[in-house]
């Protein structure tokens, strides 16, 4: 009953098929599809990465790169003795050390709260998440205003600091931290909310039958299940916050006393204010190594915890 002419003849193979065997064909087509991204990736990601290493070994001439001189590891040696670098590193650690726990804590609270049935939960979700869609330019300037002379923060917390906290050696960093928490918590809140919602409801029922109270359920059911979500939040926010730039740039210009100058800010200054591209590249590479170290550390923790 088969209509022979309608079903392609089992004997034929197209020219394309005759020309190349199957695996060659797959390779060609595969590379064709991969090529555009690979080109972008190689040119704009891999190449700068390697070039950064190369530049960091030179005293780089901004206007006439051909006049750059090879200096070996001198830039790295300079960096180790550079108080501004250590200051920026320390400030960055301080910033990350305050921001990450606050973000994790707040986003966890928001996620757990919103996981309950609440009237208006969509609006709440909107409000919590919305700062995330703002550019740091807006966030930085608005919050600088909040802590300027006639700002909300200054108004209500004047008992804490005299004058604008952004000028205070002690308070400038915490203000930047608070700003960042407001800006970023929504993102992690969304992650943790999904993570919480993925906990099978049945487990809570099993736990209820086993006599577990709210704290027990949180400790023995919720937390273990949210482990991966929490780890993501910790890792992702650590890496992201390590690169803080916009807030100090816009709010404090790194001051007072360079107390809010961070690594990327320093990198920016070296690259585009003092134009020491070689030394700047060395700082960039060092930052890269630090961050790879941070993620590696995190992966080790994830790795050992996972069974």
């Amino acid at each position: 009953m088969s209509n022979v002419e309608t079903v392609a003849d089992a004997g034929t193979a197209s020219r394309w098929e005759q020309l190349f065997d199957r695996s060659t064909r797959e390779l060609l087509v595969g590379l064709l599809f991969a090529a555009p991204y690979l080109a972008l990736f190689t040119v704009f990601l891999l190449y700068p990465l390697l070039k950064g290493l190369y530049m960091s070994l030179h005293e780089w001439n901004f206007l006439e790169p051909s006049k750059s001189t090879f200096v070996g590891l001198e830039n790295y040696a300079r960096l180790l003795n550079d108080p501004a670098f250590w200051n920026a590193l320390w400030n960055t650690l301080e910033f990350v050390g305050m921001t990450v726990p606050l973000i994790v804590g707040l986003s966890l609270v928001l996620a757990l709260g919103l996981n309950q049935e609440l009237k208006g939960s969509r609006i709440l979700q909107f409000i919590y998440f919305s700062p995330y869609v703002l550019t740091v330019a807006v966030v930085g300037i608005v919050w600088a205003q909040m802590f300027a002379q006639s700002g909300v923060g200054t108004q209500y917390f004047s008992w804490l600091f005299s004058g604008s906290p952004l000028n205070s050696k002690f308070w400038a960093m915490p203000v930047i931290v608070i700003t960042t928490v407001w800006w970023q918590a929504g993102f992690y809140f969304a992650v943790l909310l999904a993570s919480r919602q993925n906990v099978p409801e049945r487990l809570y029922e099993a736990a209820r039958l086993d006599g577990a109270g709210p704290w027990r359920m949180f400790r023995d059911v919720t937390l273990p299940h949210m482990k991966n979500g929490l780890l993501f939040v910790v890792i992702a926010s650590t890496i992201f916050q390590f690169q803080v730039f916009g807030q100090p740039y816009l709010m404090t210009k790194g001051g007072p006393v360079g107390n809010t100058e961070t690594l990327v800010y320093y990198l920016y200054q070296l690259g585009f204010q003092t134009r020491e591209l070689g030394f700047g590249s060395a700082v960039g590479y060092t930052l890269l190594l630090i961050l790879i170290g941070v993620s590696a550390l995190n992966y080790v923790i994830v790795g050992t915890n996972d069974e």
Binding site: L63, T154, G163, S164, N167, P256, V257, T274
Partner: protein
Amino acid sequence: GATLATGLAGCAGLTGGSGSDGGGSSGDVEIDYWMYFGAQEREEMTALIKEFNSLDNGIHVNEQGIPFSEFLNKLFTAANSGNAPHVASYYGSYGRHLEPITHPIDDYLSNGAKNKYFDIAWENLQVEGSTYALPIDIHGKALYTNDSVLESAGVDPDFTDWNAFSSACDTIVSDTDARAFSFLNWKSGQAAFRAYLIALTQAGGDVVTGEPGNYQVAYDSEVGKQTAELMTKVTGDFGWDVPQFQSDSARVEDFLAGDLATFIAGTWSVNNFENEDGELPEDLSFSFQKPFFFPGEGDDVAWCESNSLYFPTNPDHSEEEKQAAVEFAEYVTQNNTLWASAGGHLPAAEAVATSSEVKNTPLWKEYGTIKTMYEMVSNKKVRYQPKTSIHINSDRFWGPFLDMYIQNTDVQSGVTTSANALKQALEQ
């Protein structure tokens, strides 16, 4: 029309063009001009450009405002990438710093241009015997006094004597609610640097010694530290000022509100006194004193600077454009009476500075700010800062001075940090 224009601009960004946007009548030579002026100064400069454009001389100028803090970064990256404008404003004493990205203009200047400007300003613009810029103004720092406050404290000191000045300050603090004296007018390292220069020179010290091109840091000396000490005592032991800034411009606001009796500020600072309508407040009575009251055996000179026009290098610029750029710069620097009357600066072109329009402004006649400046310039009582090849005004070097002033750091470490940073930069 607007849609089309935006569309075109979008395409400019996509085609990687240097984006000289349209505006003038076709056939004009288009000149790009970058400036960092804000607020009042920006308005004056814009008016000047408008005036120039309306001359219909075949040149059209497109201006672009760039935030001051980014100005040098932008200028350097733009020059490096072949996107630099034809004309850019910057400080006259930055010739050496800008030399790699600007070109000398001696070949383009009209005859006798040199003689149009105060000598001191012209000299300042020479780098290795070539002219790199044209000065718009000469502005300096001196002491503003709120005379109502002085009056209510019953003091009228001799502003050339430290003892007189300091006892007046003490009186103000004890007899009024106002603070007596602020060393800074603005919350920035640059403001600290400039004020410090005045005090340091009078104390007989120097920021650097040596010749342009071979400077040595000198203010980490005894006198340098003493002067810094004096500065920090203003907010410390003397109790003449508080070590906080509510905002960048807090001192200006306090001065206007009568909460601050005196402060060191620039000729142009009167701009900041103006209210929304561009008028100086009626009830404000102030004067502008030569700031020669600091102790020490040094020279009684004040710091000065010139907003100037530079000519960045750009391989795309034609000779015609370069010529037009200089023409424009000459026009702007030699026809800027507004720059004085509304901008508060002493024009760098002598004829403009002494023109009747200028001499008739309230700032010359009534408040005397420009007049005082003119006197100091004529009497050689002003001095430009060192002409280094680095960005010497940077907060990298003078941030610590701000911090000393607001008691965030002590004198010893502040001066050392600052001096070390500067030494290192000068060595590079």
